[in-house]
Symmetry: C2
Subunit: 80 residues, 2 copies
């Protein structure tokens, strides 16, 4: 199965990388753009018998390694 | 409108960061995991009258700034 994991900064956490992107976009003429936030996107192949089991394992991975839960949120989608 | 942009390394491009994640996951006991690829996920607010116009602008942003088209692919989704 293919797992797609999004890791994003929590709403209240400052995102300097996002601000830099917003400024660069503005200087390129995209002045209708606001609130740019940059996160991580991780795709992985997981061998599992059920979607539920795969999702549980991916949540575990996020909590143990992939995300910093103090400042980041994560979401997991599983595709067959 | 909210634009969600995924930027991923092309299939044939080596992803050392993904390999490191795969190895770390294996050493944590997740040994049913393969093919880890890490990409970027960018969310932004865009003021636009139509979804089509917003999507066109986001494609433009990817081509001009956000993605390195030699080694990366991008995809854009627009939500109201």
């Amino acid at each position: 199965m293919l797992a797609k994991i999004h890791i994003t900064l929590k709403k209240d956490v400052l995102d300097p990388q996002g601000s830099v992107i917003a400024n660069s976009l503005k200087s390129l003429g995209f002045d209708n753009v606001n609130d740019v936030r940059q996160g991580k996107f991780i795709e992985l192949e997981i061998n599992s018998n059920s979607k539920e089991e795969a999702e549980k394992q991916c949540n575990d991975m996020c909590e143990k390694l992939l995300a910093n839960l103090v400042i980041e949120d994560y979401s997991v989608e599983i595709e067959n």
